[in-house]
Symmetry: C2
Subunit: 236 residues, 2 copies
DNA sequence: ACCTGAACACCGTTCAAGT
DNA sequence: ACCTGAACACCGTTCAAGT
């Protein structure tokens, strides 16, 4: 018998394209090469097809990124702590789990700053946060707006961490901010000068937890803990 | 007499390149075409030269973006209010002025999320914020870390506004989040369902001011208003 | 030192043509 | 309906060669 013809360019046998197969392959490429190298062309090549084929399943690269983000959010632990713990600690743990997922994919964190997670996993995360805030006695309106602020804070913190990582990897480690602070003069910018060490001090996780506590204290504060009443529309 | 030779490709007479000239031209291109179209090649063409010439003055595109950002921050009004007003209101006004500058350059806002403003104008803004927080009685450590959180909040809010603007301009106005919230079922995600209108409600400036107040209340709170003491290094 | 054309190694997206 | 090769209209950065 004659040998079976090998599939094009000697790649593993082609499986049919599908949103799921594309996302799975994209995730692998993301893990191995990072978001910058996850291009439509390279992804298509990994799937043994041409870039044009991807546009049958995703309107554009941005929509693909959104699907990737939600896939990743499936790893967030929504009950990341002893249910007997204080609600604040459980909320911080959920946010830390979310931030941790983004830490593991630094370039995705950067992307997620501008892509509110609206897929099923993103909505589950939102539900968990709202539940914890309501449990803690945060008013409905403040919970709604506050959940957004908390999520935003965690996302940006993770994204900044990712950018720092990339800079370190590039060997571009002399942060402009460090240099700028080092040359500040006491008589020109006295507050910056006095606090120049504290501004950059602290371990990341420690600062993150501190920032979450600031937001929670603010949300519980009597003066800021409610939103303009016209916007509180509790339905259901 | 023979006619004077026109300069290459009939452009205005070439002035010598310099960091200043490059930044000025880049700002014009930014205003007219947006960041996405401000490429090294197009910028060089506007300066009547080749892209390679820009690399004499800027290590790469990112460094150019940083210079652009600091240039823009020169427009931030650091005394944006009656000095007799409450420090909270003055601080909110400074942040609103900062956010306003970014609103005027939506694509730069996106960029500034990952480029801490470390130029002279950025440092002046930081000095103003630290001064106001100290005046309000916020402890040194909390002022240092809190100024970062406030700046981050303003930056991301402006950047999100910019992304929304761009989507509206593209006609891509059916936000994924809106669609997702509309199809949430009461029994699956009860909190999200109950708050689905409030989550997206509110005018941007109103939400922004509310968020600033949450952060300030949190920073003034006795429990979160201090940072781990090991990090408070007041020098000078 | 400063400047440049040309080259290198890529991009996202569209479209006519195939199956 | 799904898939594709080829084309369109671009990118950032480097480098050898010029002035």
């Amino acid at each position: 018998m004659s040998p079976e013809p090998v599939s094009r360019r000697d790649r593993p046998a082609k499986m049919p394209l599908s949103r799921g197969a594309i996302v799975a392959t994209a995730l692998n490429l993301l893990r191995s090469d990072g978001l910058d190298r996850l291009t439509m062309r390279r992804l298509a090549a990994a799937l043994n097809t041409g870039a044009a084929s991807l546009y049958v399943y995703f309107r554009n690269a941005e929509q693909l990124h959104g699907a990737l983000l939600d896939e990743l959010l499936g790893d967030v632990d929504l009950a990341a702590m002893d249910p007997a713990a204080r609600w604040q600690d459980r909320l911080a743990a959920v946010l830390a789990s979310y931030a941790g997922v983004l830490f593991a994919y630094p370039s995705v964190a950067r992307l997620s700053v501008f892509t509110r997670p609206s897929g099923p996993n993103g909505l589950r995360l939102l539900e968990a946060l709202l539940g914890l805030l309501r449990e803690g006695g945060v008013a409905p309106g403040a919970a709604a707006w506050g959940s957004d602020q908390l999520l935003q804070y965690a996302t940006v913190t993770a994204a900044e961490h990712g950018v720092r990582d990339e800079m370190a990897a590039t060997g571009d480690d002399t942060s402009d901010m460090w240099q700028a602070l080092a040359s500040v003069k006491a008589d020109e910018l006295p507050h910056v000068y006095a606090l120049r060490d504290t501004l950059m001090a602290g371990e990341e996780g420690e600062r993150f937890r501190w920032g979450v506590d600031v937001l929670l204290a603010g949300l519980l504060d009597a003066r800021s803990g409610v939103v303009p009443s016209a916007h509180v529309m509790v339905s259901g």
